[in-house]
Amino acid sequence: MPKRKDLKKILIIGSGPIIIGQAAEFDFSGSQASWSLREEGYRTIIVNSNPATIQTDERTADIVYIEPLNIDTLTKIIKKERPDGLLPGFGGQVALNLSYQLAHQGILAKYSVELLGSTYETIEMAENRQAFSHLIEAVHEPSPKSFVCQNLNEVSQAVERISYPVLVRPAYTLGGTGSGIAKSWQDLQEIASAGLRQSPIKQILIEENLLGWKEFEYEVMRDGDDNCITICSMENINPMGVHTGESAVVAPAQTLTDQENQKLRSISLKIIRALKICGGCNIQFAVNRSKWEYRIIEVNPRVSRSSALASKATGYPIARVSAKIAVGMTLDEIPNAVTKKTSAAFEPTLDYVVIKIPRWPFDKFPTVDRRITTQMKSTGEAMAIGSTIEESLQKALRALEIDQYGFEQEAIIEHKLIRELQEPTDRLLFCIAEALRRGYSINKVSELTKIDKFFIRKIARIVAFEKRLKKECLDEQLLMQAKRLGYSDQIIAGLTNQTADEIRSMRISHHIRPGFNMVDTCAGEFEAITPYFYSTYYTAPRKRPKRKNEKRILIVGSGPIRIGQGIEFDYCCVHAALTLKEAGFEAIMINSNPETVSTDFDVSTRLYFEPLTLEDVLNVLETENCNKIILQFGGQTSINLALPLAKLGESDRQRISILGTQPDDIHRAEDRKLFSYLLRTLRIKHPAFGTGHTYEDVKTVTEQVGYPVIVRPSYVLGGRAMEIVYEPEGLKQYIESAARVSKEHPVLVDKYIADAVEVDVDALCDGRDVYVAGVMEHIEQAGVHSGDSYCVMPPYTLTPRTINRIKSITRKLAFALNTKGFINIQFAIKNGSIFVLEANPRASRTIPYVSKTIGLPLATLATQIIIGKKLESLLKEKQHALPKTRFVSIKGPTFPFLKLPGVDPILGPEMKSTGEIMAIDRSFGAAYYKAILSDNKFSKRGTVYMTVRDGDKPKVIQLAKDFISFGFSIVATRGTAEFLRNHGIQLKIVYRISEHKSPNALDLMRQEKIHLIINTPTLTYRAKRDGYAMRRLAIELNIPFITALSSARAEIEAIRFAKSASLTTRPLHEYRR
């Protein structure tokens, strides 16, 4: 069937901000879908609240809306744009749920918008657990025994029909939020009530427990002609009981015979046919291998995290093909992106092994429960390709960027080790290796972990080789064997008492270099032209290296998504690659994250799927015969390579030129002493700081600088890096629990400028001119990490004079650091004084947000500067100063607290957010209203609970009055209440738990009698601990929660707007008109 002519305009819903369970994969799928449809002549509209996406670029879609993702907004957009079709399956669960609601509420029918790819019935069947069970029954296949429950009564009835332990799953939640395993009625009550609350349709599922079964996934596709193919089979290393997003995954399936594999494949095709999906679909199986039993546990009628992984693992562009199928094309009509000659109707076959390992954010949260379960906690993932399990596994480990280059020793006492094996955490793989190292048998480890012996045996092989490396003389043969087992130079060096550099020299002298194979989807059977490669020591390196090409540049990506290094950097890398290609360069991309747009092989001239360690980057430079490298777009990952690469450049072995700002200058900005010296010479103010090598030292320095201070260790223990300390006790606690202070590992102390306004600036510099692209004023006070703050463009309280001074300091600093490309500077402003907190001569987190606000592709401009173009000519046609904005653009964070039990949701200098949204409108109130809506937390009326520290009390009088004038009622803890009453404000008193009186604040929250909380905690160590229970409860009950008075004031503006007007929805380009 040829593509449909009756469709012209197609709406694609994005997935919103990056959160746990929904990362960059949906930017990848949405962007592919849009490109794929435009290529066929359709017009696309993309709606997403996440500015750090390629899909919301105006070069990706015809019309872009950066608006909150909710029914109201989407209805307005549909009404205005009148699309013919809606693609529900490319924005994860968020888009699927919204599309389902739009259909359910008759909005799609009203405006004659057709659901493309998945119909309403399909979504219903796949997502409603009961309908799903019926469907699976109808095709005569087994699904887990399960019962839908709407209340605890039904739960108790259900559990009589299955035995403990049982699995609890809330319906329609993301990444398994709220699910858990209950071993007793008591457990069950707790998990079930939480689940019922969290499910948007107040429905949970009580299921048969399949703990310890193996888990397999199949990615399948179907077109409108009922042609079905399988793209990839995947095997989870972790057994059932661990969410597939939390599991290490291998592709293709390794331990299934052909009979078993074909059985599961046939069932997958049967299911996609029964669901009548047009496009991609993911089917998950639980398999009990001791007696060959299986259950179909989940079907995702959309592209997913797994399909992104399958696309990168096989080279088959699932999202791209799915989009074309959704508009009526059949598989044989869709060109094959790999061979460019044949069609998309074939099944990829691999001649390599792919392994994905999740990346967890636990380094940021020392108090979090690290166990990996049915609920996702990881923020991202790294993927590696190699010839064998061993090679891929060790590559994947170093691709995680957790400062480990393979199976390093795990310092853990015996009984804890056993517990790790039984109740896995993020350290599981390392603990398996450690157990084997300590002599545990493969059987024993497999028994404890319930992981297939096949995988344990592979780890055992790696561990066993350690002994040989330690004992035997490292000769050419042994080294080659080690490399084939995936050992990094670094680990070999450690085991043989040498340096990584020495190992590297030895490798080079023995010609032990990796070969690079193409990911061609067909195991070499056909001639393919995919510019997509992976390294392996099983293939000999190319004999004649490519001819040196002066116009070849390597871009180092940003690796797995983690807190502090999100999709923004991938966005910049994609722009860099596209810009280089347009300027006639060969853009070589190296990255290890399978979710991203940058690892779409269409983006760069050639893509290398490799870990981002020095060793792996050098291998790519060598094989490409390339000596130019761009490091300023990949976040900390790439910038950290600057000094080592520069050092290598000094030895004449390899002349590598780092394009853009030079390593020395980067160092001058990063090293506190050098930077402070620089600021002093430029007469720029900065907070006082000092360094301490002992506790006494730190105390003295702190007293000199004066409390409060921001402390950070140079050596991190247990992950707690930065903190604001208000009094001596806090300092003592910090040093004891978080930082090991010693001569080698000093603690840095900075004066914390309390109650200052923080400002972020992004600028471009070509050495001759500086272009200040964005001056962003934070709503939260300085001291809250800039990634966790709401920020506003243009600044909403700063005077023009202050802004000018900020710009002039930016210029001075950019020139002083010899910046070529990006520079980001953070300022604190207090009582008219401007302090520079830090300067980063690289792409910042806010680049996509600023780009979208001002309508200039900053990453593109930065790339052009790096390759020698001048700002003057680049900006000639555009205005040189900040554009005159008649609108307000706000960037807001999203937090993972709900998914991470045990974490205090209080904000501080350590970043905690996973993603961001952007909201744009004509006024501050409207924009902030949109920003809050994007996070789904807004009440126009109800009760505000106030509990503020003494110093803030005078400042809340006006706030309280405003809330009352909007019809809110107020409750407050005694201190706050008495103060407010004295100022004529009527309110009720609530008690803290410690007061043992009723009404207690937590009870009111549980009874849903509190709709907004304003809590400015006293930040002493003890007080912080007291407020924890309340904050945690607010998170779990999803009660809006404000910790800064400036945010409360912004909230007032939003309520004022919401009370008087309704939001308008405009495409991005209209705001700038």
């Binding site: 002609d225 109707a345 059977e525």
Partner: protein, 361 residues
């Protein structure tokens, strides 16, 4: 574990590790791209005369079990692997199996580079030199060049049964002309009736006496246009066309094609794998199939037959049917094993057709 060599007729010499029985073997080197199903592949009679290279690097992961065999013994002459797994905890270990079944296997070979070479040059004569005291490269190369290609032998005669074998006892009666049949074909047919397996050179009289409802011409190794096949199987099939419904599979399809006036030719490197998309021309439906063949049919005009299936990728003929008789064949393997089972329905269609036809008579 000892050092051994692989030498190809184009002069390529590769050093590798050796497993299995230490014997020198000569054959045609071919590659298979299936990611699972090595048990089935090793025992598939169509590989007779061939040294098999598996492109999937890890082989032996799930051990070896007899129940997954496609014939009573190992059929490949030699095996080329990247990273065998000799200690699977299910089934028999691969190395033990190689020993017991007297297969000479080379491993730790960069199979990808070798596959690319075969893709470019086409399948080649090759030799595994298992235990060289020293290697005389020139002499070996000379020897390989002089050795006749395995296809010049009547390979079918090595793998066909030598006497009548009866399977099952269902309502239908099918004669299976065994050119090297895979067990899975038998298993499929038995679902619908009694299967009488006959040697490849059985004459028409013997078949007539059995009063079959339909005839299946099986898969098998080698060149379909081999003189020994043309003078036996092909002759018989020619006479069968007017009498019985016929279903040809793989080599059986090629023989039927030759009988109906098509020509056969050798593909550069053949189709061997589990991911080949074919299109049924009448319904325009696509199916993923398992394939294992080195020869293909070339279309001709004005025949009594038409092309019914084509390969989506290279357009080669994947199926034909007689214009007026219930006679058809497919190049791919509807019985799968290894591979997808998307086209299993062909056995049902054939048996229904055959039983219907004979009811009419």
């Amino acid at each position: 574990m000892s050092t051994a060599f692989l030498i190809l007729e184009d002069g390529t010499l590769i050093k590798a590790k050796h497993a299995g029985v230490e014997k020198d073997v000569f054959g045609e080197i071919v590659f298979n791209t299936s990611m699972s199903g090595y048990e089935e592949a090793f025992t598939d009679p169509s590989y007779s005369g061939q040294i098999l290279l598996m492109t999937y690097p890890l082989i032996g992961n799930y051990g070896i079990r007899k129940k997954n065999f496609e014939s009573s013994k190992v059929q490949i002459r030699g095996l080329i692997l990247k990273e065998p797994d000799f200690s699977a905890y299910r089934g028999m270990h691969l190395d033990k199996f190689l020993d017991l079944s007297a297969v000479s296997c080379l491993y730790n070979i960069d199979t990808r580079t070798l596959t690319l070479k075969i893709r470019k040059h086409g399948t080649m004569k090759a030799m595994i030199v298992a235990r060289p005291s020293k290697i005389d490269y020139k002499a070996l190369l000379q020897r390989i060049k002089q050795m006749p290609h395995p296809d010049t032998e009547n390979l079918v005669s090595h793998v066909s049964c030598t006497r009548k074998i009866i399977h099952g006892r269902g309502p239908g009666r099918f004669v299976l002309i065994d050119c090297g049949v895979k067990r899975s074909i038998l298993k499929q047919l038995i679902k619908y009736g009694t299967v009488i397996q006959l040697p490849f050179d059985t004459d028409i009289k013997t078949i007539d006496r059995l009063k079959p409802d339909g005839i299946v011409v099986s898969n098998g190794p080698g060149n379909p246009a081999h003189e020994a096949i043309m003078s036996t199987t092909a002759k018989t099939v020619e006479k069968l066309i007017d009498k019985y419904p016929i279903f040809g599979i793989c080599l059986g399809h090629q023989i039927l094609g030759l009988v109906l006036g098509f020509k056969t030719y050798k593909l550069t490197f053949g189709h061997r794998g589990s991911n080949h998309a074919v299109k049924h021309l009448r319904s325009q439906k696509i199916h993923i199939t398992s394939q294992n063949h080195g020869y293909a049919l070339r279309a001709k005009k004005n025949l009594d037959a038409e092309v019914t299936w084509v390969n989506v990728n290279d357009g080669t003929i994947e199926g034909i049917r007689h214009l007026n008789r219930p006679v058809f064949s497919v190049q791919f393997h509807p019985e799968a094993a290894p591979g997808p089972r998307d086209t299993e329905f062909l056995f049902r269609e054939f048996s229904e057709l055959a039983i219907c036809q004979s009811a009419k008579i």
